[in-house]
Subunit: 431 residues, 3 copies
Amino acid sequence: MNQGLAQQLFQTIDSWPILDPHSHVRPQQPVAHSLADLLGYHYYTELAQSAEFEEGWWSDQAEPVTRVQAILPKLKYLRNTIQYSWMMLISREFLGIPADAWQTQTAEWLVQTAQKAIDAPDYQQTILQKTGLQRIYLTNAFDEPIKSYDTNLFRPCLRVDDLVFTPATSQVATRLHTTTGCDISDLSGLKTAVREVFKRFVQAGMAYPAVSTPANLVFEPVDDVAAESMMRPMLDNLQPDSGVRDRWASWMLQFIAGLCQEYKVPFHLMLGVTRNAYPFGVPSGKDLFPSTNRIDGFDGLFNLFPKVNFPTSVLSDTSGLELTAAAWIRHNIYPSGHWWYSNNPIEIERDVRRRLELVPWNKPVAYYSDAYYLEFVLPKFRMYKFCLAKVLANAINESAQHPNREPLTTDDALAIAHAWLLDNPKRIFQE
Amino acid sequence: MNQGLAQQLFQTIDSWPILDPHSHVRPQQPVAHSLADLLGYHYYTELAQSAEFEEGWWSDQAEPVTRVQAILPKLKYLRNTIQYSWMMLISREFLGIPADAWQTQTAEWLVQTAQKAIDAPDYQQTILQKTGLQRIYLTNAFDEPIKSYDTNLFRPCLRVDDLVFTPATSQVATRLHTTTGCDISDLSGLKTAVREVFKRFVQAGMAYPAVSTPANLVFEPVDDVAAESMMRPMLDNLQPDSGVRDRWASWMLQFIAGLCQEYKVPFHLMLGVTRNAYPFGVPSGKDLFPSTNRIDGFDGLFNLFPKVNFPTSVLSDTSGLELTAAAWIRHNIYPSGHWWYSNNPIEIERDVRRRLELVPWNKPVAYYSDAYYLEFVLPKFRMYKFCLAKVLANAINESAQHPNREPLTTDDALAIAHAWLLDNPKRIFQE
Amino acid sequence: MNQGLAQQLFQTIDSWPILDPHSHVRPQQPVAHSLADLLGYHYYTELAQSAEFEEGWWSDQAEPVTRVQAILPKLKYLRNTIQYSWMMLISREFLGIPADAWQTQTAEWLVQTAQKAIDAPDYQQTILQKTGLQRIYLTNAFDEPIKSYDTNLFRPCLRVDDLVFTPATSQVATRLHTTTGCDISDLSGLKTAVREVFKRFVQAGMAYPAVSTPANLVFEPVDDVAAESMMRPMLDNLQPDSGVRDRWASWMLQFIAGLCQEYKVPFHLMLGVTRNAYPFGVPSGKDLFPSTNRIDGFDGLFNLFPKVNFPTSVLSDTSGLELTAAAWIRHNIYPSGHWWYSNNPIEIERDVRRRLELVPWNKPVAYYSDAYYLEFVLPKFRMYKFCLAKVLANAINESAQHPNREPLTTDDALAIAHAWLLDNPKRIFQE
């Protein structure tokens, strides 16, 4: 019964186009060059390494067949994971390789067979069509070119981690100088340069600037005088201590939030990651999070910029209700997606139910893929959409039995799903 | 099957009278003056503001129609929330307004139609009867009159936040002096005054003193000498630093716990709220909580007063198992209700299942409404009771299949529910 | 359907032999002397005391009938708990006492009837057979004899808490000297003695050393020079401050991890307990945990010893996803069992689902009993196995409906269960 209803809801929700409001896709090469690029997604290399560690077993630079040979014998350990299911969908739907071929065929065969599909002239178009991908947002470095791609499909977003957390080092200053021409030898120059970058992104149709932050950051207002005095030693490449680093980060977050206010764009926050926790990790596989992970360190920022909208993601499951409560009372917090280590069905279902029970339906940004290649958008969104359909089906059923709940019809449920997946992000990100 | 069993259990549980051991109802005016009072409950103003913020959109002082006009256009965004369901039950059951009228009628019509019901001479009696409300506990300021109301229906509870957290400021001292006649110029005078207040409440049938505390408070024993030395500058209105504030709070908690021991009443704790986190909030809509929220800061208090019973609520879902474990081993901790941001079905169901699996059935205090008007007691208790019925139905079913669980019959399950909802609070609060 | 499938999976999983990789069973007397030993398990004394406290109600030294008389009237309050179900299984399966006799019979009758079963010459053998217990791991003090028992059934594990957390006090030093003959008057002597102990355990077939740690410990590398300077005052019985205690603990953890690396054995971590939080507690019933409980304080240890495997348990539910994520990317972290306050169906089901969705199947160590008597192995493992069967049944069903999940067959699910319960522990603990 319930299962039938969940599937019925899923069918409808799955038929809608996808707006994907956060990814790492590169517009110059949005799809994989080879099967090895797909298997080289850090989820697979992480899990494979975790299952069976061998020193030097993986290199991103190796030939495609070598990479697939490295990971293939370890894949059997991952067959239970949700990530393995993503890959099998890609394999069947986009590469024409049935799932059981992964148990019987060689790396060479898999690479070659995949390559035939990838090299087809309509490969990217087929993926876009099967995915129903309407638009996908990017993660752009502040100094990368952002004009040379299909802005109908891709929308730039300015990633500001480098500015916020590697503050005013000569390397960042050099990059800022190179891209803007500004002299970065004092705070005023730095501000001019960052504003220049921001303006350039706004003109290119930026959806938002985005930042990922460590778990322990506590924002505090910092004025320009204090920032100026912190900046000087950094330019000489003196390492600031952790207190200075945090206050510098606060100042830069504040400056960027100010630009968001001025240019009327939201500021996307992704809270709670510990970078480089695991030095033996594969590329992009070194980061973790602590379970003691709170949002309220950003209260000061939220309160200082009531006119800036903050779509916000959390990495730790323990922050799920805190984010829900913030989205419930704060007018400028929008719960956004299910990030990384919380991007699995059990955590998604829990937070979806919370947002359904407690947050006005016009606020959540349902989901983003965080994908590096377009191939991953469909399996990730389908995973999410099935979770959403399950939670909605349960809510429909329960509302029918519950003497104290308003009836939730199938149409109501689909309207909520549509708002979360399409209408809310379009409004919040000004599509 | 399971659904049928849950509904069957719910029917029985819902037929019982309600003892509501914590509310903010005012005995002089326990029901709403108008529809605007009901819609002005902070849940609705918070959610409406969060959904669609407009500067100055809400004023508690505005005329009823003005208030309803302010919130009505925003209500559509809340239709998915559990709180909206509460209001629709009130609308149908108590105001005679069908739920769909909220989509079609004007604010004027809604206010006037509601007013007809509210102005009926038996309005309050009808609510009490439909709710089956046997008794409801209050939240009383230390200096409010507590004798002038129906003590058969209402039971006073002394809220001590002012004493604990705004310590011995001249304003609190003045209020204490006014209400007790004591001279509050030294610790001994303060103690006499607080004891006087306490005694007055005990004589008026107080169920318990109650306090809500911030997440980071760590209780430590503080002796009178240290308290005396902290008190003097406060009376001169010098702001204590946070260390002094916390130690003062510890001293006062200790003094009040000592009075609880002497007068054999429990001390109700509500742990983990951050006051005024969101300055733009509507009235009562400014508070939040951090997810890093632990109970063990109160270990010192629990250990110092083994003869005092502490019914305890937590605000953060992350403290749910810690509270369950404390109730499991500590003889003087009673898990109490599901507070505020954790008062939603998903968190309730989880903590109910924990308490059912791990805590002796004679300990939990099932639920309290926290309501400001009697109208909200029924919808909130029904929400809780349905969650309880679901968890019990699952436990019954599982016990029937599980080769390792004792059979849980429907009668067993109802006995547990009865204990949690009625017998335990009556024993713990000495009804 | 789902229920039928869960039961079917359970039947198969329950038919397998049990490898129990952590317990407190004493090989000289692995079964209870009397019913009072079973009812004296801290779960029952804790819950009984929590339900109805009386000063001095319990003594571990009292006669069996006296102990059973003390607890019997309180048992009725625990009938809802999972722990009560454990006892009833023992009662029916091993003692021949039907569950309802506990409501109708006297303490004397229960003790005597149980004693007939316990005194039967094949009592232990019957328990082993009904349990299907293949092997069980022990918790051994560093100075206890470890050679005098059936090493086919029992496998020693070196508990190092005393060494790590009561550092180099004269009492520990005396015990170390007595057991090894080494002179413990300096760090070099201490190292020799600990190495001697370690070697003795390795030679006796030790599975691993194990340690339980407080929630707030942050490991930091400490060199021998620093350790030497910390050691001297401790030998004179001067109490180190908490900073020194933590750094000493770090040094000792590092030294033991080094021995693990040298002797190629894993290091079992149990993270997050607060000892002696509740001074009125019954024996073994004084410990709790804070919900703010993170794993990443041990990052330094994990990174320093990439060749040491760390089977890791957490006490707090809030650390469940952090442990899952660590097991997902770190090659040397193995999520192990469901410890103590998290050893209840609701927490187990959640973490089982996480590990199933996110961790390679060759990593989890499913479960351990933590039992003090062999009688408890079967009911605890059955509790776990039923949770596992439920989660697997749900995953099978969902994979059949989900357009985005690989099919999970019953055989696949059973293979995962077999790996978690038997193959993984055998490999990790080198059976």
